[in-house]
């Protein structure tokens, strides 16, 4: 057992942290969230230049990482900084494209030149990965996809559909015939859209795609949890600072024992969250993957809610304001429970997987 990062990963963590600390402030983030684009193209290009996207891909795919610990490292830093760039889209769509042999597209994703986003959720489908109503007939797609991440910025959509040979992955360029978007902000500060397809010409990439999709959603779930872990670290740090500086009754709030104990509990939960993410990262790609992903996602759902609610509570009124940095991190970590299956979804899955 060894819990230290390799030298290369340590360097990546340091440079990412330095870069993001430099480029993200609460004001900058607020301005980006308020703007239509939803993220900063320059930051995205710079992240790619730093190798943050390449770290998510194996050497055979044109990257230099791709393991669970690489994914966790990158996303923890993005969550810690509250970054809004389309890294999740790059991880999922890029990962899928790489395994389907589209190295040309992957190279452009890694370079930060191309944004491809996966459209897989459907209304009423809850957390189900399988398409339910979107159909592919004679190379044309029709249906309605929900919560497509960074859809307005995407150059290409990777769409799941029911085809003649089962679950199919097909590629559609932006601006294709019969494709329309209803875009909106999401509560975690990101942007998404409802994607409607009406006999849209599409390029079929893979049939029988469910196992591949499941594998990549597992990777995305790990990324989401690491992002939450990073956001929790920031919320914790903000709260500690606040308790040390805010004075009531003639002393810093942090001197009240009842608040000290609440913070001590949060510190314990934060370490549990870190261990759960490490477990999931370490088991990625093994036969224990699914069980560890579900264990961790359940634990993250519980601890992130606790962290968000406690951080707001212990801040008092200031913790409720949009302008103060905590608001974004609290929303980000609570809303993570609504992605890739929530606490209960993964509890049921963990029970089912443990029974066999």
């Amino acid at each position: 057992m060894n819990f230290t990062l390799t030298e290369d990963r340590q360097m990546m963590q340091d440079s990412l942290r330095r870069f993001l600390t430099d480029r993200y402030s609460a004001e900058r983030r607020g301005a980006l969230i308020a703007a239509e684009a939803g993220f900063d193209r320059d930051i995205w290009r710079d992240l790619a230049d730093l190798g943050a996207v390449a770290a998510l891909f194996g050497e055979d795919q044109g990257g230099f990482g791709g393991a669970g610990f690489d994914i966790a490292l990158v996303f923890e830093e993005l969550g810690r900084a509250g970054a809004l760039e389309p890294m999740m889209e790059a991880l999922i769509a890029g990962g899928l494209l790489a395994e389907m042999g589209h190295g040309d597209l992957v190279a452009r994703i890694i370079a930060g030149e191309l944004i491809v986003t996966l459209a897989y959720l459907e209304p009423d489908g809850r957390y189900d990965l399988s398409p339910r109503t979107t159909r592919l007939t004679e190379d044309r797609l029709s249906g309605h996809k929900s919560l497509v991440g960074h859809a307005e910025a995407a150059d290409l959509f990777l769409v799941t559909a029911l085809g003649p040979e089962g679950v199919t992955l097909a590629l559609v360029p932006r601006g294709a015939d019969g494709l329309s978007l209803t875009a909106y902000p999401t509560a975690d500060g990101m942007r998404a859209a409802e994607l409607r397809l009406d006999a849209t010409p599409a390029n079929t990439l893979l049939t029988g795609a469910l196992p591949l999709l499941e594998r990549h959603i597992a990777r995305a779930t790990l990324a989401c949890m690491a992002d939450t872990l990073g956001a929790m670290e920031t919320a914790m740090a903000l709260t500690i600072t606040h308790l040390k500086t805010r004075q009531q009754f003639g002393r810093p709030l942090g001197k009240f024992q009842v608040l000290q104990h609440r913070m001590a509990d949060l510190a314990i939960e934060l370490e549990q969250a870190r261990s759960a993410v490490i477990n999931a990262a370490g088991q990625l790609g093994t036969n224990q993957e699914a069980r560890h992903i579900s264990a961790a996602k359940n634990l993250m759902g519980r601890t992130a809610r606790l962290m968000a609610e406690e951080a707001i509570q212990l801040h008092g009124g200031i913790g409720m304001t949009a302008e103060y940095a905590l608001a974004h991190f609290a929303k980000r970590m609570v809303m993570a429970d609504h992605k890739f299956g929530d606490e209960d979804h993964h509890l049921a899955r963990f029970i089912a997987l443990s029974a066999t």
């Binding site: 959720l121 209304p123 009423d124 489908g125 809850r126 957390y127 189900d128 929900s146 919560l147 209803t182 909106y184 902000p185 999401t186 509560a187 975690d188 998404a192 409802e194 004075q247 009531q248 009754f249 003639g250 009842v258 608040l259 809610r305 609610e309 707001i312 509570q313 008092g316 009124g317 913790g319 409720m320 304001t321 949009a322 302008e323 608001a327 609290a330 929303k331 609570v334 809303m335 429970d337 609504h338 992605k339 929530d342 606490e343 209960d344 509890l347 049921a348």
Partner: protein, 396 residues
Amino acid sequence: MDLTYTAEETAFREEVRAFLAEHLPRDLSEKVRLGRPLSKQDHEAWHSILNGRGWLAGNWPKAFGGAEWTATERHIFEEETTRAHAPRIVPFGLTMLGPVLQHFGTKAQQEHFLPRILNGEHWWCQGYSEPGAGSDLASLKTRAVRDGDDYVVTGQKTWTTLGQYANWIFCLVRTDPTAKAQEGISFLLIDMASPGVTVRPIVLLDGGAEVNEVFFHDVRVPVANLVGEENKGWTYAKFLLTHERTNIAGIGFSNAGLETLKRIAHAERDGAGRLIDNPLFAARLARVEIDLMALSTTNLRILSAAARGQAPGADSSMLKVKGTVIRQEINDLTRRALGPMALPFVSEGLEGANDGIAPDYARPVTAQYFNNRKLSIFGGSNEVQRSIIAKQVLGL
């Protein structure tokens, strides 16, 4: 012990129900049901309808134009109005300031201000908190200096709920900076149209702007607007806080929230079935309903111990803590119930902007969850309430 309502109480319930069926405007109840924001005019319209029936001030003595209800009658009224999705009664004039003026105001103040609270001419807001004085309210710094027949007020209040609608603010101000913290405070009524008053909105994490900062720069306030004695404001402030707690359990809100939650859990699909059939979710829902059933009785037990028109004792702090925890839990479950569809965060300003994104019922849920984190912070935070329980109820 008898848990059944008396014949009079049942008749009262019928009367309230019939009144609501006839007089609660549909457009208002629809807004409340769907969690849409209410405008100033919406609140005023509903107040005026209730005032016409003599039901606006259920907690006030009849002598002042109130209904002088018992705790049970108030409970029935709250149950029926929330069930019918009536707007809440804005509390600042009616629940907070009214009782203070009735106990400590001069006859002239009572005659001038109380009718104007009832007829809506005055919209009050509460100027207690300051940037440096939250839980430690007695450390407030806003100064009022006597100058002839006026006080000159300088300082800042914050978190002032609906201050943007108000034309009057009741403030705690420091009149004796040399006295011990609690002893140099006075209770002052300030016309917000006075020169030197500025109101600035604060946007909260749900995107709404219901609270404000209120600044005072050399604002002249007639001495006639001092309530009670100079430097005795802390006594009145504490009196007000106990009255504020008469409706603190929020049973009606929780009942209405639970009903919405059940409706959503029946409508939401989960795998092949409905969310309500998911045993994990059903268990969460059942637990909070069980808590609420017990709290409903705890609420009546504690409130009934106080005589008509009187404030409950320190044990009502228990109602604040448990009531807010239950409301927040219901908000949490409602958010969970939506699954991924809790994510779209469409500003309420954009009417119709949510069309085709998620079901109508999904629209206010996430914002409400985040907004109601305030419940355990304001009105005396839950930590402060626990200290009151420990010290004043348990004698620790």
